[in-house]
């Protein structure tokens, strides 16, 4: 007797639950026909309808890489560093003998010629 009453209560609760679900959950995706992958994709697309998708935040190491730049990133070198009218500075200059500079230049020339 008690058993029958319990089963009846469960059945009534399940019916009520189904009714609530049908009001809350989006209509079910069409029954799969043909390729199961396409069917899953269609179901997922329908479930995500209207949802805003934010891209994943890059990890901190990725950020550093972006800042540091890759090999293809252009290198900015400013122009106009040297002005037409440049201030005159005190520069210390000294003269010395060539001290083997000519010999070194000639030897290097000969070495490069022979190669």
């Amino acid at each position: 007797m008690a058993d029958r009453a319990a089963k009846k209560a469960v059945a009534e609760a399940a019916a009520q639950f189904q009714q609530i679900l049908s009001q809350v959950v989006a209509p079910a995706a069409p029954a799969p026909q043909g390729d199961i992958t396409e069917a899953v994709a269609a179901a997922v697309a329908q479930a995500l309808q209207g949802a805003a998708i934010a891209p994943a935040r890059p990890a901190s190491s990725d950020i550093e890489e972006i800042i540091a730049g890759g090999p293809d990133e252009p290198l900015f070198i400013p122009s106009g560093i040297v002005k037409d009218q440049t201030e005159s500075l005190t520069v210390s200059s000294e003269s010395s003998t060539s001290g083997g500079l000519d010999d070194a230049a000639n030897a290097l020339k000969a070495l490069r010629k022979n190669k």
Binding site: S79, L101, A105, R112
Partner: protein
């Protein structure tokens, strides 16, 4: 672009260092003229203008933004005002975003180079090799100085700093040797055989690193240690606690350079043959400490057995402050050699 007519051979070398910027040029009488400016600047309020005019100090006027004192005067003024002079280069390289420093470097380089003697005169300027122990951008550095030299009216050629020592100092060895430039911001090393570069690298330690370490060890300041070092002391016979600390850091730097050379050479030894023993040539401002070569040799002898390169001798460059500029000049002169 104006040119300065001369009968002297064309070509100019430009050594861009953390401490000094040096140019070298041949004169009509066969001598070599070197021009140097201290690579430092100091920004002051416009109020200091009158005092600087009275003392005859050159400065760059930035109007309401103040004035900038450049070169040796910046170091002297920094002491007067109790401040640290700024350095355009840090550890041998310029950093992207140093816009103040770029303007100052433009003025300094224009002053040491002067006008080109002919249209398109070649200027070889020094570039450090990539450091093996720091993540620094050599490409930007090279690009900036190539731009500055070009804007001064020269045809710019970037060239490795330590290889310039090999060109200047090892002609009698057939351009074979290990050149080491002990600079202020870094040390540059190049190994060459018959003028062919086999190994080029730098370490991000130099004279500044020695000063910092010795200052920290003795509770002194960097500028005091630097002044002590520049005044001259004997590495083989340090007299004070500060000199002892300096000697310790010098030794550590030399050991570090020798060890790094061995490690880098191990990477290329299978494809780079050394047919005979080669000399080591040391150069640079940091090598000007008293008895540096003797000290280097003493340290090297403790490492010789395990050093993978056979060394014939260790010697000082004939002109340690100007050797890089002279090596660059030799290369620049070749650009105008018509034979």
């Amino acid at each position: 672009m104006p040119t300065k007519k001369t009968t002297a051979p064309l070509g100019i070398g430009l050594d861009i260092g953390t401490m000094n910027i040096v140019s070298a040029r041949r004169q009509a009488d066969g001598s070599v003229e070197t021009s140097r400016v201290r690579d430092a600047f100091l920004d002051l309020d416009s109020g200091a203008k009158r005092m600087l005019k009275l003392s005859g100090v050159n400065y760059i006027d930035h109007g309401d933004d103040g004035i900038i004192v450049v070169g040796d005067a910046a170091m002297e003024m920094a002491n007067v005002f109790g401040r640290e002079a700024r350095r355009p280069l840090s550890q041998g390289l310029i950093s992207a975003g140093e816009m103040d420093a770029l303007d100052v470097l433009g003025v300094m380089i224009k002053n040491v180079l002067g006008d080109p003697a002919a249209e398109g005169e070649a200027c070889y300027f020094s570039v450090p090799a990539s450091p093996v122990d720091a993540d620094r951008d050599v490409v930007y550095h090279e690009g900036v100085f190539s731009r500055i030299v070009s804007e001064c009216g020269f045809k710019a050629h970037a060239s490795n700093e330590a290889m310039a020592i090999v060109y200047a100092e090892t002609a009698k060895d057939g351009f074979s040797g290990l050149g080491i430039s002990f600079g202020s911001g870094m040390c540059n090393l190049a190994l060459a055989v018959s003028g062919v570069e086999g190994l080029c690298f730098s370490v991000a330690r130099g004279g500044d690193w020695i000063d910092s370490g010795a200052a920290k060890a003795t509770g002194s300041t960097r500028s005091r240690i630097c002044a002590l070092k520049e005044k001259g002391f004997d590495l083989m016979a340090p007299k004070t606690r500060e000199e002892e600390a300096l000697a310790l850091y010098y030794k550590s730097l030399i050991v570090y350079c020798i060890d790094q050379t061995a490690a880098e050479f191990a990477k290329i030894k299978d494809r780079f043959a050394l047919p005979r023993p080669i000399p080591i040539v040391v150069s640079g401002g940091t090598s000007l400490a008293g008895n540096f070569v003797e000290f280097f040799t003493e340290v090297f002898e403790t490492k010789r057995k395990r050093f993978p390169i056979e060394v014939s001798e260790i010697r000082h460059a004939s002109d340690p402050l100007n050797a890089v500029a002279r090596g660059l000049l030799i290369q620049a002169m070749q650009e105008h050699d018509e034979d």
